[in-house]
Subunit: 333 residues, 2 copies
């Protein structure tokens, strides 16, 4: 199951990068091979017209500027349904609580879950609570699974050269807000998590969106690399068009981090047919959550080779972007 | 949210007893009040003809005689669907792995999940993997959510005096197998967990079963007490009719534990109309999993008061059974 040097699960596995994807593709998917699991999308479309998804949330710290583990657990799962082409309807809520978790913290998280569920228009339809001893969890872990109504299916096979790549907002706020809240870096910052529901993007499926993904672990570069690998075309994005907040730009430079690899929790990247991209961008910008949306690139076979993701840099260069391989930033979500 | 002496989550909360039920009823349900959550059943019936349930599994140790955390995670969720009146179809699988978990253990658990899913005829439709640092989990926690097709709805309101209570097999093997595997008790035993899918009970819904529950945390006494509280009748069960294995009888006596409060993971209790109970019992006994099924009691207003669960003891006495209040046996599932 692994080389002799690696006989145990390591932290990098949880980064959302290439090692994790390889692990899942090599060890988990083959164990359960079936048509619902094969495309490894964010949610599975089941035969009853229902989409189904799950995520566990282990974010550290549990409270951070702009949200907490509760808002994250609702929005993360809601967003997986939206980008898979489903209207989110129901969530399950499973809590693993560490003995000693203060009631005030649990209470605050439950209130956040309630608020976030109401904002995303989903109902909590069931739940489970387990308690483990001190030192057997870190305060609280939350799992939400989501059930939605399928309204569209991503159509990767229809992606053609000239199609546009739309990013719905600035990158990296969530990762940086969580990292800085850990106080390991001794940096003061005003960065707030972008954690939010993407339900405002649902009408784009009717308007002809071909593919959507929420930008979580691995960041924009990893997610678009994975798309590029699945299609017989290259993707080109332009650095100068990628919206970044001043705070993220500053903190990333200080810390030597590339925002293209940072996780968000309220941003998506969309592939739109060339002729429809302008109208879709206007639609996105109507939402306060999409104000800074931009067309950041296109499907382009003139420069890259099939399967490649290229970045046209500010300085006029061309850089091949690889998926994140491993990252020592665990527990960002 | 709690008295001044209790400002934090305590272990008893996770026992499945009265404290936990009170906590959920007081703090969690009101936060999310909606028609799907109100009956607090094992699974929720959603409008699309679909039933939905979730459970996290934190059993310690992760391997025990008769199963492991993987078999448990599949059967536990499958059984919640069955007893709610749904044919289990799809599971999600979310893993929280502790850094350092040996690959061989993970691999063995994944194989168990595969085998159990195949035995229960469900597909793993999606998943999630998170890794946390050493000391932030205990080896592995597994969440499964389940989606099934609704075929029946429990009809508690139709329960009448004379209806029979059927137990599908011996009590307590799962709890004791897990407890003894912890080696805290220094007891050798041949008890193996009863962990198994209850899908063989699905035909009973068509045959007129009024109500079903799998016997998990809190045990038979807690689960029937909760039923008694919901109906305007009393329930009477007879000690001499309750099937117990010699091993469980012996270990329970040695440890001073009442098997009526022990969790199983492959047993159910069913309320059947008086005239249909005999035929249903024969049906159950046809399955190797139901060989020791028995009619253990009835709905009876002649002895108890509405809402009471009474035990007619071997010695001819009558004992009022209360739901489990708290128990220091965490992580049994």
């Amino acid at each position: 199951m692994a080389t002799t040097e690696e006989k145990a699960v390591s932290l990098e596995l949880g980064s959302g990068g290439k090692r994790m994807r390889d692990f899942i593709a090599r060890h988990i998917v083959p164990a359960f091979r079936n048509p619902f699991l094969d495309d490894l999308g964010d949610a599975s479309h089941l035969p009853m017209g229902v989409a189904f998804t799950t995520d566990s949330y282990v974010v550290d710290p549990i409270f951070f500027p702009g949200g907490d583990i509760g808002t994250l657990a609702v929005n993360g799962t809601v967003n997986d349904l939206v980008v898979s082409g489903a209207v989110p309807r129901f969530l399950s809520l499973a809590l693993i609580l560490e003995e000693g978790l203060p009631w005030v913290d649990l209470s605050r998280i439950l209130r956040s879950i309630k608020r976030a569920a109401s904002r995303a228009d989903v109902l909590v339809a069931g739940g489970d609570t387990k308690v483990v001893r001190r030192g057997q969890a870190d305060k609280i872990y939350v799992n939400t699974s989501g059930v939605g109504l399928t309204v569209a299916r991503p159509r990767t096979s229809l992606i053609r050269p000239g199609d546009r790549i739309i990013l719905t907002g600035t990158l990296g706020e969530h990762s940086l807000a969580v990292m800085l809240a850990r106080e390991e870096f001794g940096l003061e910052s005003r960065v707030r998590s972008d954690c939010a529901p993407l339900t405002y993007l649902l009408p784009l499926w009717e308007r002809g969106a071909l593919w959507m993904r929420d930008i979580t672990r691995g960041g924009l570069a990893t997610i678009l690399s994975e798309l590029a690998e699945k299609i017989p075309h290259a993707l080109l994005i332009e650095e100068e068009k990628i919206p970044l907040s001043l705070a993220v730009r500053g903190a990333s430079e200080l810390l030597g981090i590339d925002p293209l690899y940072l996780a968000c929790e309220g941003r998506a990247v969309i592939v739109a047919p060339q002729k429809k991209a302008g109208a879709m961008l206007s639609e996105i910008r109507k939402s306060p959550l999409g104000r800074r949306a931009a067309i950041i690139g296109r499907v382009d076979d003139r420069i890259g080779r099939p399967g490649e993701l290229l970045l046209a840099t500010m300085t006029g260069g061309l850089r091949l972007l690889e998926p994140l391989t491993s990252e020592l930033l665990p527990r960002i979500c």
